[in-house]
């Protein structure tokens, strides 16, 4: 196992999320949420890899479905799992009215991410979601938002780390010869 700092967890997760196809803005949210998972759960790396690998199989909530949540109507699943990130982003950006909570949402992909994303708000996923691939969940209110944790690290095994690094590497560009020459910090040997 390799012990990552939480900043490394966040940076790697943001890049891997972007490499898996999430927009930059959502990738930033994912990086922060990964940090929250790492604080509490040994399996943050597996959770992150699951998200990167399944990113393309989820669907976002449709505007019609989001409207049903807000108006306290019964949720309707579509057959494809809901994207936990897009769902959480919507709920965070414009929280449903208090009267709509607790809010049952059907067939959420990787609900651990919905929970981790919501943890910076006054909402959470009821019960323990673990590493389920997809599940029906209930969003409920909670009293306090989470404070940043200290003294925590993000342990990860080498295989998972390598897999996440290969998602992150999709965001990198091979340096051109021109860029190598112009560089970021000169090209010459110190002569002074």
């Amino acid at each position: 196992m390799i012990d990552l700092s939480l900043n490394e967890v966040e940076t790697l997760s943001t890049k891997a999320a972007r490499g898996a196809g999430f927009s930059w803005g959502l990738a930033e949210d994912i990086g922060r949420a990964a940090r929250r998972i790492a604080v509490e759960d040994e399996n943050w790396g597996v959770a992150m890899l699951n998200l990167a690998e399944h990113a393309q199989s989820f669907e976002p909530p449709s505007p019609a479905r989001a409207a049903r949540w807000r108006s306290d109507e019964t949720d309707l699943a579509t057959g494809r799992p809901l994207c936990p990130i897009r769902t959480a982003a919507l709920l965070l950006d414009e929280p449903v009215p208090a009267s709509a909570l607790p809010l049952p949402i059907l067939d959420v992909g990787l609900p651990v991410w919905l929970d981790a994303m919501l943890r910076r708000s006054e909402m959470r996923v009821a019960g323990r979601v673990g590493l389920a691939t997809r599940a029906d969940v209930v969003i409920e209110r909670r009293a306090e938002t989470e404070q940043p944790a200290t003294g925590r690290r993000g342990a990860i095994d080498e295989r998972t780390l390598a897999a996440l690094n290969s998602f992150a590497a999709r965001t990198y560009v091979p340096e051109s010869e021109r860029s190598r020459v112009r560089g970021a910090g000169g090209g010459r040997v110190d002569d002074e």
Binding site: I2, D3, L4, S5, L6, N7, E8, K15, F22, S23, W24, G25, L26, E28, D29, R32, P60, P61, P63, A66, R86, A89, L90, L92, D93, E94, R120, P148, A149, T150, G151, R153, A169, R170, T171, Y172, V173, P174, E175, S176, R178, S179, R182, G183, A184, G185, G186, G187, R188, V189, D190, D191, E192
Partner: protein, 549 residues
């Protein structure tokens, strides 16, 4: 007392002015020196185990009221051809960690197996900062030779360079496994911006002097001289900084806002003072004389900087000539600033800001405590806002950018990317190099204007949350727009992907907040600076009276 308005972001946040920034008494190394002096921090050499050539290990322990921190230094042989300022170097003359506590022998051995390898090593939460530095080879050797002959080195030559070693990276906040910033942000002595990094560099400075003294003494145990105290105080630590640092100000908008807001608030406070007391006049005159001396020694092969430095020297001469009559006016410091604004180059104006702040510690130093920020609040997207309001906010905040036409190749000439080889930020030429589809989200103005155009096509009453549900690709730009609407100094008011961009302007602004001097651009994308030159030595603060810094 009538308030003076803060200089607005459209003045302060332009790249040309950022590229003329000067350190002030609010700069981070000055904040650190003030605290260390006030709290009488004590430094002792816990270990100094170097061979005749100066290779080995040393530990400097700093006792602060609550905790001990240690600089663990390693000095290793390095072939001349491997000595490079570039971040892609793989070996260095010296390497360092700032250690949380006092390391035992096992910990020193662990660090010795890693720190000289820098990024290739692995670190723990006991390490707060990781750094390395190379010798200024010719100068270091000349100083060692002179000292070994029982003589002091040539002062002008020494101060012309300004340092014996130059750091090429100082890493904090969790890099390569070291402690996260969250681990130290509640400790008063390290809570401010970059205090752990500044402490590391301050300790490295003392190590460089002890290193050269040690080598001279081993060459001539009986007759070697010790580097004179006044030279030690005049010298700093060099630093080479490249593109890697450039995105920082963009990626930390709330922090950036807090830095500039503090400095501009300080300036407005001082300008509003009704009169200048004798002590303030004296302090100003001393600071002006000191700066003129530094400017006379400020050397750069960069023709733009050399020209700017020459004009700065003339500006400071004009300031000295006019000082008495300016200070005789009502609101004398405002008169000084307005004189600079009317007559001086940007370099001269920003130097004047620094000088005006210098005598006014009692009035402004507490603003240093505000120069930090948790970026978390900026992360929240207000999706309840309607698209019409966000569109209007963008037009208001980016009105200065209206003239930029991103369909013009020159406006869209560059793209920021992360290099596969070194995982460092780089700047590419969009129309000449591959990889623009992997652009980093640093094209702030282009994206803001693009978002405004996308919002213009939405119903004004539609919520931002609904817009983002359909258009998640704009999420980063929405987040930024909402930050900039609330925190006006959060945004650089220039195009960061234009053909005319000089990244060194961004670097200089950040380095000036650190307290850097002697800016020496080596290209449009990296520069050398000096830190701590002319400042007290850390081993002297325990016995210094008052708050000299």
């Amino acid at each position: 007392m009538t308030a003076i308005a803060l200089r607005p972001p459209e003045v302060v946040m332009r790249l040309q002015r950022l590229g003329a920034a000067h350190p002030t008494r609010l700069s981070f190394l000055r904040q650190l020196i003030r605290r260390a002096t006030r709290e009488k921090w004590r430094v002792r050499k816990h270990l100094f185990d170097l061979d005749d050539n100066g290779f080995g290990r040393a530990v400097y322990a700093v006792e602060t009221p609550a905790r001990i921190y240690s600089l663990v230094a390693f000095s290793t042989p390095l072939a001349d051809e491997n000595r490079s300022d570039r971040v892609i170097a793989q070996a260095w003359d010296t390497s360092y960690v700032l250690y949380d506590g006092l390391p035992d022998a096992a910990e020193i051995a662990r660090l010795e197996a890693n720190a000289p390898r820098q990024e290739a090593g692995r670190y723990t939460s006991r390490e707060l900062v990781l750094a390395r530095a190379n010798k200024s080879v010719r100068l270091f050797e000349e100083v060692a030779t002179a000292l070994a002959q029982g003589q002091q080195p040539d002062e002008e030559q020494l101060l012309g360079v300004g340092y014996l070693l130059r750091t090429t990276a100082v890493y904090g906040n969790g890099k390569f496994g070291i402690a996260d910033r969250d681990e130290i942000s509640s400790r008063p002595e390290l809570a401010g911006s970059f205090q752990a990094e500044m402490l590391t560099v301050w300790l490295i400075r003392s190590f460089t002097f002890d290193l050269v003294d040690h080598i001279a003494r081993r060459r001539n145990p009986v007759g070697a001289a010790r580097l004179a105290p006044d030279l030690r105080r005049a010298l700093g630590v060099g630093n080479a900084t490249g593109l890697g640092m450039a995105p920082f100000l963009v990626r930390h908008p709330l922090l950036t806002h807090s830095w500039f807001l503090a400095r501009e608030t300080a300036l407005a406070r001082v300008r509003a003072e009704p009169r200048a007391g004798a002590a303030e006049r004296d302090a100003f005159s001393n600071a002006l004389a000191d700066l003129r001396q530094r400017v006379a020694r400020w050397h750069s092969d960069d023709s733009r900087q050399a020209a700017a430095t020459r004009i700065l020297a003339a500006d400071l001469g004009a300031l000295a000539e006019n000082l008495d009559q300016l200070l005789a006016k009502p609101r004398p410091w405002d008169a000084v600033y307005r004189f600079a604004e009317g007559h001086f180059s940007l370099e001269g104006q920003e130097a004047c800001v620094s000088l005006i702040l210098e005598p006014h510690g009692a009035l402004i130093d507490e603003l240093g405590d505000t120069m930090k920020a948790d970026e978390t609040p900026g992360h929240i997207v207000d999706g309840g806002m309607d698209c019409g309001s966000l569109h209007q906010a963008l037009l208001d905040c980016y009105s200065w950018a209206r003239a930029i036409d991103f369909t013009e190749p020159a406006a869209n000439a560059r793209f920021w990317y992360v290099s596969a080889e070194k995982l460092e930020p780089r700047l590419g030429e969009r129309f000449e190099e591959d990889g623009a589809e992997l652009e980093q989200p640093l094209a702030t103005v282009r994206d803001a204007l693009g978002l405004a155009a996308a919002l213009a096509r939405e119903p004004a009453s539609a919520s931002v949350a609904d817009f983002l549900l359909r258009r998640p690709e704009w999420r980063h730009a929405v987040r930024r727009a909402q930050i900039v609407a609330k925190f006006p100094y959060a945004e650089i008011h220039d195009n960061l992907i234009g053909a005319e961009l000089r990244p060194v302007d961004i670097l200089r602004a950040k380095l000036a907040f650190f307290g850097a001097r002697s800016f020496d651009p080596r290209s449009d994308r990296w520069l050398r600076i000096a830190l701590f030159s002319g400042e007290p030595l850390i081993e002297d603060v325990a016995t210094m009276a008052g708050e000299a810094a």
